[in-house]
Amino acid sequence: MSSVQHSLELILARNLVENISIPAFVLDPDGVLAFFNESAAEIIGSRFEEIGPLSQDEWRFELSHEGHEEQTPWNTESISAALREGRPAHERFHLRCRDDERVEVEASILPLAGPQGICGGLLAFWPVTDAD
């Protein structure tokens, strides 16, 4: 048997994410960005098939901007903790998009747990507006 088969929970999460209009990522248990949907692609400026999948370090580099003083990078530690401890988390940060544009977003990560433990997470996000 192949060892790369995703868990049923992750397959179902991807099915859900593909069919909703909220920008969302599917993360595997190691934090690998396993999929993002069309709504996320509109903000990022690239389709998943063009850039993914990405390890946590890779997507922190590709989609965030470490070292930029005025803008908040991904807090990957909170995501790791969510995947490790199974607790939902909420963050506000800047997303690096095509042409190096920055978009401030809020994101909630929902850990996914099955009979064999935590098998990934679903991260939904939305751009911060003036009303926020």
Partner: protein
């Protein structure tokens, strides 16, 4: 490994003249391993006809899920009423509530004349370990697959022969199979390179469009799945109770043409037929013994 199809119908038994050739009993498949061990896949009404002797050793029943068409025959399985019989009923996780308690909802009053605790046989009920286990001469693996409710698919490897059993499965839910990557297809790793794949093929493609999300496959999706898995042979299973034999003949012809158009090997696809027995010796060499039904699609 020998495979006997005892019930191939989905949802509800449909006895009668119009279903006599493909059969009206619900899901049950007997596999006999090279060391003689009996593994029974699902316990639909087809299990009633199963003649298995307690003296031949421990009997294992591997239940994919607890929908009634997969457990209804339990109450009519003769070894349950034989105090000499040792039976292990395996089923899907979780451990809580225990499988025994779940099945007791059916094997208890007022649905049943006897209680599960009254079964004379020595019966144990176990959640199947998802890491797999050895039973007799086989290695048995299971994976949770897309269907309504918690559902397992099983794979039995005995020497070079392998049978993958996915009787209720909708791998195309949410996305077309043709474009999905392997790791995102439910059940694909379990079915990889199987000598024989027994797979849900309940709906015609026309009917499927009105039943997306019901947990069952169209014929074309079942065949695409088999091609992606590179299974040697595929039997379409879980026939729609509304489909009489003539309708299934037509579906079988369509399936054979579709399989051929996709580059599948000749004669490698058929509709499952109750009463049929196959010997599955290993990859690419499956030999079929037509014991009751010489003409199949």
């Amino acid at each position: 490994m020998r495979v006997e199809l005892l019930g191939v119908r989905g949802s509800v038994p449909v006895p009668g003249e119009s279903t006599a050739r493909y059969g009206g009993n619900t899901a049950c498949v007997r596999t006999t391993l090279s060391d003689g061990t009996t593994l029974i896949l699902d316990a639909g009404t087809g299990i009633r006809a199963l003649d298995v002797r307690p003296e031949s050793g421990e009997i294992h029943i591997l239940v994919t899920h607890l929908h009634l068409d997969h457990i209804q025959g339990l109450l009519f399985f003769a070894p349950f009423f034989d105090s000499e019989a040792e039976i292990v009923v395996w089923g899907p996780p979780p451990e809580t509530p225990p499988l025994r308690d779940m099945l007791a909802r059916y094997l208890s009053s007022p649905l049943s004349p006897i209680e599960i605790r009254e079964l004379p046989a020595r019966v144990s009920f176990r959640a199947f370990p998802l890491e797999g286990c050895s039973i007799g001469s086989a290695t048995v693996q299971a994976a949770r697959v897309l269907h309504r409710g918690v559902t397992l698919g099983y794979r039995i490897d005995d020497g070079a022969a392998s049978v993958c059993y996915l009787p209720d499965h909708e791998p195309a839910l949410g996305k077309p199979l043709a474009s999905a990557e392997d790791q995102w297809i439910s059940g694909l790793a379990l079915a990889r390179d199987a000598s024989l794949l027994i797979h849900d093929g309940q709906f015609s493609d026309e009917a499927y469009s009105a039943h997306v999300g019901w947990g069952h496959s169209s014929v074309s999706d079942a065949l695409l799945f088999a091609l992606r898995a590179e299974a040697d042979r595929v039997l379409l299973f879980h026939h729609d109770p509304a489909h009489a034999d003539d309708r299934l003949d037509a579906l079988g012809e369509w399936a054979a043409e579709y399989w051929d158009s996709c580059g599948g090997g000749p004669g490698a696809v058929a509709l499952a037929q109750e009463g049929r027995t196959l010997d599955v010796p290993g990859p690419s060499t499956a030999i079929e013994q037509e014991r009751q039904s010489p003409s199949l699609a």
